[in-house]
């Protein structure tokens, strides 16, 4: 069952667009349900499965328009900005620009998004209908993407000052739009507010920046996908666990048949910029870059190689374009990817970039909006420093542990002397701590006979003690522990060795306890 709608996946697949629109209309009327409706803007929502891209645009656009009829929920602002930033369809852009005006107050940070939307859509604009679901007008509606963008710029008023100089250079629009634009840029208010551009794609209004899937500071370890096999652009096969460990990685998702250059093509282009920056800083061999396709069945190695080459993506052992060999689902689930499909074809996806730490765990994500290469590099470098610090800590910790434990062994043994229960107990304690101390000494093959001898002494002493108390289970523990330690040491099974030490300790302790 689908937790959001109460519909099964099959029912969602067969849900007609009309029924969907009715559901959206009904839900949007209730302010308490707005957050719930916002969930439907997730690209991976099952309601978009098996639908064409045009249908997905209609459905998502309608949610934006319906939400805007009340006050637009802050949690959905990111979706509006995403459409303005990257949409290439007039309806999506018009709906987003229109919905932005339903926010309680304008913010100057919206201005660069509106400017980008104007640039993206101006040569591909069309009349749209925002009144009825799925309506494609064949008469002029007085509404189009550029028209809605201009209205929203007007709504921003003086807060659009940062984009005035760019707007002044826009020409070639239709007579009425050009008139509206000229009016916007020539108003005294606009001229007064001519401020430096705020064209920072990563600068977001308050609250919006907290809406990403992976919260900073949390990690998703890679165990579920460790065994996933990838093929790279040269046809090499490699597992996730081998590929993404031992240093941080910048991972992006894309597919070669994406027809929105502001998404996949730009993502790979920017990843190439990231590579250049890493190279400039001498980090190209320490920080990996990887681009994984959403469309692994179509994007064969040769296709990946060409797509990367044509966008200046440098390939090598540390820098690869990848496709999963057997199914994409585990990766999709692990990264919580914002992608949906009709058959094997992607029908909608968001922009998504991840930084993996040295253990291959997801440490950060950048989604939806155009990301900034410098920020990605900084985050990856942060991960690299974290790895180096950890490595140093691990090194110093293990040296410390070795020294301390090898010292503790004799001291503990001496300490045990302060608690003599009897001569047997003394022997039992001494041998136990001897074993523990020995474990911590750096590897020396000649110590094995010593280890065996000490364990035999321990076994003998515990056996004698158990005989005297007539309770043999302590001996059984120590015997099992000795076998486990030996097996663990010979066949390099750390878990067995550890269990052996614990069992020996427990058995020795039990045997040392004062009988009732």
């Amino acid at each position: 069952m689908n937790e959001l709608t109460g519909l099964t996946t099959v029912e969602l697949d067969s849900l007609s667009e009309e029924a969907f629109a009715e559901f959206v209309d009904r839900t949007a009327q209730d302010p308490a349900q707005q957050e719930f409706l916002t969930e439907f803007l997730r690209e991976d929502h099952p309601v978009y499965r098996e639908r064409g891209t045009a249908a997905v645009i209609r459905m998502r656009g309608w949610i934006l328009i319906s939400l805007a009829k009340q006050q637009f929920p802050p949690s959905a602002v990111l979706y509006l900005l995403e459409e303005l930033d990257t949409a290439i369809h007039a309806y999506a852009v018009a709906a987003a620009a229109c919905a932005l005006r339903s926010l309680p107050k304008p913010d100057q940070l919206y201005a660069p998004f509106l400017l980008r939307a104007l640039t993206n859509i101006r040569y591909h604009d069309e009349s749209v209908s925002l009144e009825a679901y799925g309506e494609y007008p064949d008469e002029s509606t007085d509404t189009c993407a550029v028209g809605e963008i201009l209205k929203t710029i007007r709504w921003l008023g003086p807060l659009a000052g940062s984009i005035q100089s760019e707007l002044r250079n826009v020409n070639g629009l239709s007579i009425s739009e050009q008139k509206e634009l000229d009016h916007l840029v020539s108003s005294p208010q606009a001229a007064d507010q001519d401020t430096p551009p705020v064209d920072d794609c990563c600068q977001l209004p308050a609250g919006v920046s907290n809406l990403f899937t992976w919260m900073r500071g949390t990690r998703a370890d890679c165990t579920p996908v460790e065994q996933t096999v990838f093929e790279d652009q040269s046809g090499n096969l490699i597992r996730y666990g081998e590929l993404f460990t031992g240093g941080p990685t910048v991972v992006v998702f894309f597919y070669t048949r994406c027809d929105n250059p502001l998404k996949c093509s730009l993502t790979i282009t920017k990843l190439a910029h990231v590579q250049k920056e890493l190279e400039r800083r001498g980090l190209a061999s320490q920080i990996r870059t990887a681009a994984i396709t959403y469309d692994p069945e179509y994007d064969h190695a040769q296709r990946l190689a060409q797509y990367g080459k044509e966008r200046n993506f440098q390939t090598g052992a540390q820098h690869r374009l990848l496709r999963t060999v057997e199914g994409f689902e585990p990766i999709k689930k692990h990264f919580k990817l914002g992608v949906n499909y009709t058959r094997a074809l992607v029908n909608r996806h968001r922009i998504e970039v991840f930084i993996l730490d040295s253990a291959g765990a997801i440490a950060a994500s950048f989604e939806r909006l155009r990301w900034d290469e410098a920020e990605i590099v900084e985050k990856a470098v942060e991960m690299l420093h974290e790895a180096e610090t950890c490595a140093k800590k691990t090194d110093s910790t293990s040296v410390f542990q070795n020294r301390v434990f090898s010292a503790i062994g004799p001291f503990a043994a001496l300490g045990a002397a302060f608690f003599p229960k009897c001569p047997f107990c003394w022997a039992a304690y001494a041998s136990l701590f001897g074993v523990v101390g020995l474990e911590q000494i750096p590897f020396s093959p000649w110590l094995y006979p010593v280890l065996i001898l000490v364990m035999l002494i321990n076994l003998l002493s515990v056996w004698l003690r158990c005989q005297s108390t007539k309770k043999m289970y302590g001996f059984y523990f120590v015997f099992a522990g000795a076998v486990a330690i030996l097996a663990g040491s010979f066949w390099n099974l750390p878990l067995a060795a550890t269990s052996g030490v614990i069992s020996t300790f427990a058995g020795s302790l039990i045997s040392a306890l004062k009988p009732d």
Binding site: G52, A54, Y123, S140, Q178, R343, L345
Partner: protein, 291 residues
């Protein structure tokens, strides 16, 4: 056509061309003879870019179903030509798309087709919806299903794959099946369908050839395997053997082919026993890979 040619010859120097105003006035004037209006429409593609009013007037002629078909066709082509000049055409685009949506329901089949073609190339949601409706409900069809499938193929992200699968299963005609298969070639999860069609000797040859090409795109190793077995199979028909030889000769590497002694042997047999075209291709193949 001959008359058009003679009109062309008159167009010698730019200075000899009538003014845009004159051209548009001729095109839109019902009193002017039909052929003269058609000839004047050639200049309309450039003229409409000079003035929004010219564009609107030309559009009105196209939309007016009472106008002579030849004039409407010529004016429509003039507007299509103008749309190539992206920068100058930007301000007209919205009206152009609206006009095309209206024309998609025009009574003139050529105009209807032309409009749907333009819209589908622009990945227009309206056209896709109407074309899909027509495939699902033939009564609503604006064009024949085999044409609708081709038009929908202009957008690889169109919602057509389920319908195409159905049409492959239960095709109303062989042409529809062929076009549905061509479209399904974009769906990499459909490789089993293509393997089945390619290997089915009772299947229409064109569909088998389409399946070979589809496999080449989505599962090239599978095509190699099946093509190699088809060229060695004496009971196969010449056409499909020729298609397979074309694939093997053009798209596979020396390593693939030279390592396959059986294949080379099979093609040597084909060179001796095959019919003319296959023989020629077998000779070329062996020249490239085995001689």
């Amino acid at each position: 056509m001959a008359k058009r040619k003679s009109a062309k010859k008159q167009t010698v120097k730019k200075s000899s061309q009538p003014s845009p105003a004159k051209l548009i006035s001729t095109v839109t004037n019902d009193a002017v003879p039909e052929q003269e209006r058609v000839q004047a429409s050639r200049g309309a593609s450039a003229a409409v870019l000079k003035d929004e009013a010219y564009f609107k007037k030309t559009m009105e002629v196209v939309l007016d179903q009472s106008q002579p078909a030849s004039v409407r066709h010529a004016c429509l082509q003039a507007l299509e030509v103008a749309s190539f000049q992206t920068i100058k055409f930007e301000k007209y685009r919205k009206d152009y798309i609206l006009m095309m949506r209206k024309l998609a329901r025009d009574s003139d089949p050529e105009i209807r087709f032309s409009a749907l073609n333009t819209l589908s190339c622009e990945k227009d949601g309206y056209a896709q919806k109407r074309l899909l409706d027509g495939l699902k409900t033939p009564d609503k069809a604006l064009v024949e299903p085999e044409v609708a499938l081709q038009l929908l193929g202009n957008d690889v992200h169109a919602e057509v794959y389920s319908v195409a699968r159905e049409l492959v299963k239960k095709p109303p005609s062989e042409q529809v099946k062929t076009e549905a298969l061509k479209l399904l070639a974009a769906d990499s999860s459909a490789s089993k369908i293509f393997e089945k069609v390619l290997l089915d000797k009772s299947e229409n040859t064109e569909n088998r050839q389409v399946s070979a090409a589809a496999l080449h795109s989505i599962k090239p190793k599978s095509l190699y395997k099946h093509a190699a077995s088809i060229v060695k199979d004496n009971s196969e028909n010449d056409e499909i053997q020729a298609t397979c030889l074309t694939a093997l000769g053009n798209f596979f590497s020396d390593q693939d082919v030279k390592a396959d002694a059986d294949l080379v042997k099979g093609i040597q047999t084909l060179k001796k026993k095959g019919k003319t075209q296959v023989k020629k291709q077998a000779t070329q193949f062996l020249k490239k890979f085995a001689e």
